[in-house]
């Protein structure tokens, strides 16, 4: 089942000294439960693409469909996670994860129960009355993820969501997050500049070119491993092959 259908997106910026084409002819589809990474040279418009899918920005032309429904603005079907966890320091963990539901006036008993279950499953329930400053960076990022999943989105967008963490925390957090996403069967699109991170979590990697960015290739990642995790697949012999391939693709246009 196709959850996300991105069709022929083009984005032009208007600036005082001219027009910049950021994205051109971007089309792809994402199936339910898939994890798609988007990699590309810095400044190529990866985050712009994510903002368009999220409905934060209107594309110059082209359309985005979620479950067959055209995206016209911010929708409750999409969860968006930024680089910083942005936990509100004056709220407890519990009241932080409820923020999305609160904003959408959706604090129904079922939703609250679901979020509490998420907190319990991912070992954050005992910290529910603590404040963000009392938690480690990795835990904070997990809280931010649960805050995003609380609104039960059809698609989760990760915008460099782990790059603010130190390397070691990052490896553990990506592992934890991957587990959560697979268990909850969340369709995810992640933008990253970190190629290994992109490969380690993805079912598909979309490689963008330099500006104006077009899709160079959509690479299917398959480690032929039932118990794949972002950590153990890094040791898989195919990992370095994928890496070399993407590296070459990214460097080839100079």
């Amino acid at each position: 089942m196709v959850v996300l259908d991105v069709s022929n997106i083009e984005e032009k910026y208007q600036a005082v000294n001219g027009e910049i084409t950021a994205l051109k002819e971007i089309s792809f589809r994402v199936e339910k439960g898939e994890f798609v990474s988007i990699v590309g040279p810095s400044g190529c418009g990866k985050s712009t693409l994510l903002s368009i899918i999220a409905g934060l920005m209107k594309p110059t032309s082209g359309e985005v469909f979620v479950n067959g429904e055209k995206i016209k603005g911010i929708s409750n079907h999409i969860g968006y996670m930024l680089q910083k966890d942005n936990l509100l320091e004056w709220r407890t963990i519990y009241s932080n994860v409820m923020l999305g539901l609160e904003i959408q006036n959706n604090l129904t008993p079922e939703n609250i129960e679901r979020v509490i279950q998420l907190l319990k499953t991912y070992e954050l329930y005992e910290f529910k009355d603590k404040y963000p400053s009392q938690l480690s960076g990795g835990m904070r990022q997990r809280v931010a993820l649960i805050r995003t999943l609380a609104i039960n989105p059809d698609i989760l967008l990760l915008d460099e969501a782990f790059s603010a963490l130190d390397y070691q925390t990052r490896l553990t957090v990506t592992n934890d997050v991957y587990k959560i996403l697979k268990q909850e069967q969340v369709t995810t699109i992640m933008v990253t500049h970190d190629i290994p991170e992109g490969i380690s979590m993805a079912d598909k990697v979309i490689i963008l070119s330099q500006r104006p960015a077009v899709i160079k290739e959509i690479l299917t990642i398959d480690f032929e491993d039932e118990n794949r995790t972002p950590l153990n697949c890094r040791k898989n012999p195919k990992f370095s092959k994928y890496f070399d391939y993407i590296w070459k693709e990214l460097s080839s246009d100079g």
Binding site: A54, L56, I74, S75, N76, I78, G79, Y80, L82, Q83, K84, N86, L88, E89, W90, R91, T92, L99, G100, E102, I103, Q104, Y131, I151
Partner: protein, 268 residues
């Protein structure tokens, strides 16, 4: 932490810390005591003219004397005027800041006016205020308001506009309305800004009130100071100034206490 088994180094460190704090306090009190003593002695020895510069013992006697008469009334009047001016300034200022935050257009249009009004010494408006609202308590409160209002607007607006953009983006991705962004992100984010502006404002309002009382009044500490000056009773002037300093400090500390309570409630 195991407090029973403190190491030798720890005990020495704690002792040193304690001694350092005590020394600071001793010096703080000592300077005041020396100052008063030197003042009193020089007045007794006739080194300074106690008719012009007054003298601690005479100030003390004046205070006692005033306390038996209508000192509390004067303090009450000044405090009342300050608190009314302060509250009005904070509320109006915050509301105006919210409007300016809400509309970039209005904020851009009003920018030059705010800059000019901010640099204008508001006391210069005194005669105008008296003519418009009449020579009474209203004029004094208005003066306090005039002095604190623009500062509040600028301070709060600056805080609102400098709210972490990432927080706002996060709320936007959940589909938050501008009202929700203000209530859930921008305002709580600026609680500290609000209290900083309260701390500045309580002082500014008092400046406005005293200036107002200099111009028009029949009671209040500012009135006592002007009256004392006019009848050449410097003891009364000095006593009033000292009482005013105490009143100002108490009001400031009240704001600090309030901040502590609110912050605890807000989980900072």
């Amino acid at each position: 932490m195991d407090n029973k088994q403190l190491s030798k180094e720890r005990v020495i460190y704690l002792k040193k810390e304690k001694r350092r704090k005590r020394m600071i306090l001793i010096w703080q009190v000592g300077i005041l005591v020396c100052f008063i003593a030197i003042w009193e002695i020089s007045a007794l020895l006739g080194l300074i003219d106690s008719f012009i510069l007054s003298q601690p013992s005479r100030i003390w006697n004046t205070c006692i004397n005033m306390a038996q008469n209508d000192l509390l009334v004067h303090i009450g009047v000044t405090v009342y005027e300050t608190l009314v001016g302060f509250t009005l300034g904070v509320i109006t200022g915050t509301v105006l800041a919210i409007i300016l935050w809400w509309s970039r257009f209005i904020s851009k249009v009003s920018e030059p006016y705010l800059v000019v009004l901010n640099s204008l010494p508001k006391i210069a408006l005194g005669p105008v205020i008296i003519i418009i609202v009449g020579a009474g308590t209203e004029a004094i409160i208005f003066m306090a308001l005039a002095i604190s209002l623009i500062v509040t607007v600028l301070e709060m607006l600056n805080g609102f506009q400098n709210t972490d953009k990432e927080y706002i983006k996060m709320a936007t991705t959940f589909g938050a309305t501008k009202m929700q962004i203000f209530k859930k992100i921008v305002f709580p984010y600026n609680i500290t800004t609000l209290f900083n502006s309260l701390k500045i404002n309580i002082g500014l309002s008092l400046v406005g009130v005293i200036a107002g009382e200099f111009l028009v009044s029949k009671a209040g500490l500012g009135y006592l100071i002007v009256y004392g000056g006019q009848v050449f009773q410097l003891d009364l002037v000095m006593a009033s100034v000292i009482i005013l300093a105490i009143v100002a400090a108490v009001m400031y500390e009240a704001v600090v206490l309030m901040q502590r309570l609110v912050m605890r409630w807000y989980g900072h």
